[in-house]
Amino acid sequence: MRIDDLFFYPKELVDEETQALALSIRQWADKEVIANRLKFSENYRQSVEDSRKKLAIDIGLQQMIWPEAYGGGGFNSYKRSISIVRAIEEISRADPGIGFMYAANLSSYAPMVMEPHVDKELCARFAPIFCGKELKTGGSLILPGAGDIHDEGGPLFLGRTIQVAAALRGDEWVINGKGLRPFNSGAGTELFCIVCAIVDGKKFKGAPSIIYVPGDLRGIKKGKVFKKTGLNADENADISFDNVRVPKAYMVKRDSAVKGVYSWLNLCMGAVCIGSLMNVYEIIKDWVDVRVIKGKGLIKENPLDAAVLAEIAEDITVSRLLTYNLANIMTRPKDYGSLEQDQVFTLAEMIGMRVTSSALHAINRTMELMGSAGYATEWNLEKHWRDIKTIQSYLCGVGADVPVKMDIARQFFDCKEI
């Protein structure tokens, strides 16, 4: 049985155009990545760039999210949430690292490109960068995270420390922040999407805001690409902003945009996880179909191992349903509220946390069944494990799942002081 038939998702919500796109991506995945995993292991960076180029330019994923009026693919609407999940899922089946890049890129563009908040000035300025025929790294998010005990402490976004300050000087924002850890793509990004605290003199004022900063401006210092557990398709580096100036118009003009970024991020990372799990299923299915235990029967016929396989299938099924359900909810603001409002924002966090956790659980169980093959590079499972774990830690930001739990407790129990 095909994986799409085995693991349900609401097919009736996926339009023909999206299914055609998903098919194109699957063909790309099978031909360019999965069939070439040996080549990828020999020269990963170059292989990723080659395969990304086909995906980004030939299939058109790089411009997909930008408005048609600015040369994009027109997927710039909350109404396309399901299409976006479907696309990211298929990319991530091949390589969660590449899926992660698209997921994070999209989340970084969302505040300016997504209907009903399309910012024409910002789109006109930045769409040409990403809607051409040249492969780009894409947008990089700088989100609130851990504070430093030695700092006096700036304003918070729901307990997380905002480490970038923006001050209005005439018609320009002056951006400052040191030793910042981007969520993604810090090393090569063309455009930072930064959650900033607005300062007026020595005082902070107003709500956290999003300001876009082109990646090549004077005053931006990039550290070395750092080594990390997974997601090696994406090169990241610490960033400092030293009096970096951008036009006043580069700020997104609504307070709720920051929560919207988190909603998109959790949805899209959920899609990365379920794509990864689809391939994990394919890997373990191949394994248990031939592997013999105790010198006789197949491993999948042993009740203990079958019970573990059942856990894996359950994790995949539930994760996929949850992620598509979130996408569906995000397409229906009249019924559920905007994705920038507390209720959907909290739901997205909950589902993001649940799906990453389930994905990791399923991969861990798969590794147990495969033994040494689970951690040997040649079986292609361990990369999924490293990639998904990295996403889980990144989504936490700081303090494990505690910040998300505090957001949930606030939403459901009206907590005031946590």
Partner: protein
């Protein structure tokens, strides 16, 4: 509070513990921890890793410790504290790098069958001790897993060795060995001496046919492949090993018919005890790193450790280490004192120590994963050292039959299951 304050039964501790522990900690601080972030890229060559091994094993002389004094060793195999002091050594090495700990520990693994009371085989000790009395690092390997699987071979209580396909046939005064092995620690050209698990009669489940035979790695007919690329454990090389009409003297068999199978059951206890030590060593380092991060970084304008919800996670992590260390040292004690707990290879001891290891591995896997999340954007960053441990300790959970075999052994023992 320091890492040395985590609990362990003080009455079990060897008089050598403090001295050896301090020596290895100094070595780890100077020769391993400053370099370990580069180990992943060194997995094939071991250019950075080898000098640290040389210092530990040859210069400090630890590779000789298990051999009797008469052949130049330290006589650790004669002690009532062999396992307990080994636990401390493994733990200290594991704190710095669990892959180095396994490469070190596995060197003694097959040797327990000829150096530890009551199995001392002085003829073989005399034969092999000179290999280890050198100024270069010398390793041994226990060559066990085969292409059809490793857990079945380790599942000796049920399968009694009948799935072993590597054969040893007596031809005059020599064993002739043929077979194909996978995954042994210290292969890919590392080990000088191989302890080969094989059968003298293919398909037999008679314990008399189970054999553990020593083979110097330079023997004609032994071929080792290149190292496997893995998710972690760069300091531990693993490869295919082929034996094609390999001939060794008949007296290279460890203990003889029936006794080899008994030694192998003991080997399982040793291996699970060692695995537990690697894990608690890594967890001690986790505590050190978390203490620093959670004291310096804030959430909601307080140090992470001062937030009640985060503190609950930290408390669980530290509490688990405290408990796991007690359990790990208990495993070592059970190996050291068969007069109190029963034979090292008995169902009782094998099952319980497997159970201990499974528990400790589960706690370690969960706690390292949670710790990476506490660090958030920095959890996957190699510069914070936790993620490397996270990759390494998962491998420890998976090896030696993994969780499922541990669970079956426990069920068999505690519920008297007959067919698992």
């Amino acid at each position: 509070m320091t890492i040395d304050d985590f609990s362990r039964p003080q009455e079990y501790i060897s008089p050598l513990d403090k001295h050896l522990g301090n020596i290895i900690r100094q070595w780890a601080e100077k020769d391993v921890i400053p370099y370990r972030r580069r180990f992943d890229e060194d997995w094939k060559e071991h250019k950075i890793i080898e000098p640290a091994f040389k210092k530990l094993m040859a210069d400090l002389g630890l590779q000789r410790c298990i051999f009797p004094e008469e052949v130049g060793g330290w006589g650790l195999g004669h002690s009532n504290y062999t396992a307990t002091v080994s636990y401390r050594m493994f733990e200290e090495i594991g704190r710095a790098d669990t892959a180095m700990a396994v490469a070190f520990g596995v060197t003694f693994w097959p040797l327990t069958a000829i150096t530890v009371e009551p199995h001392v085989n002085m003829r073989l000790c005399k034969e092999f001790a000179p290999m280890f009395n050198t100024d270069k690092a010398c390793f041994a390997a226990l060559v066990m897993t085969e292409p059809q699987g490793g857990s079945d071979i380790e599942n000796i209580d049920l399968l009694k060795g009948r799935t072993i396909e590597t054969t040893a046939i007596l031809d005059g005064n020599e064993w002739v060995i043929n077979g194909h092995k996978l995954w042994p620690t210290n292969t890919a050209g590392v080990a000088d001496l191989l302890g080969v698990v094989c059968t003298t009669k293919s398909g037999s489940d008679d314990p008399n046919d189970f054999a553990l035979i020593f083979v110097p790695s330079t023997t004609k007919g032994v071929t080792q492949g290149g190292p496997y690329e893995k998710a972690g454990m760069a300091a531990d090389k693993n490869s295919d090993v082929w034996f094609e009409d390999v001939r060794v003297p008949s007296w290279y068999r460890a203990a003889g018919p029936g006794d080899d199978a008994g030694c192998f059951e003991e080997v399982i206890s040793w291996g699970q005890m060692g695995s537990s030590a690697f894990l608690t060593g890594a967890m001690m380092n986790l505590y050190e790193i978390l203490y620093k991060f959670c004291s310096e970084k804030t959430y909601n304008k307080k140090p992470l450790k001062e937030n009640d919800a985060i503190a609950a996670l930290l408390g669980r992590i530290a509490g688990d280490l405290d408990i796991c260390r007690v359990i790990g040292y208990q495993a070592a004690r059970m190996i050291d004192r068969p007069d109190i707990y029963g034979g090292r290879g008995s169902r009782q001891v094998v099952s319980k120590i497997r159970n201990f290891k499974e528990f400790i591995a589960d706690r370690a896997v969960e706690n390292f994963g949670k710790a990476m999340d506490v660090l958030g954007f920095y959890g996957a960053d190699r510069a914070w050292d936790i993620e490397k441990h996270w990759r390494d300790i998962k491998i420890i959970q998976l090896w030696m039959g993994g969780k499922q075999l541990c669970q079956m052994e426990a069920a068999r023992y505690f519920f008297d299951c007959k067919t698992l």
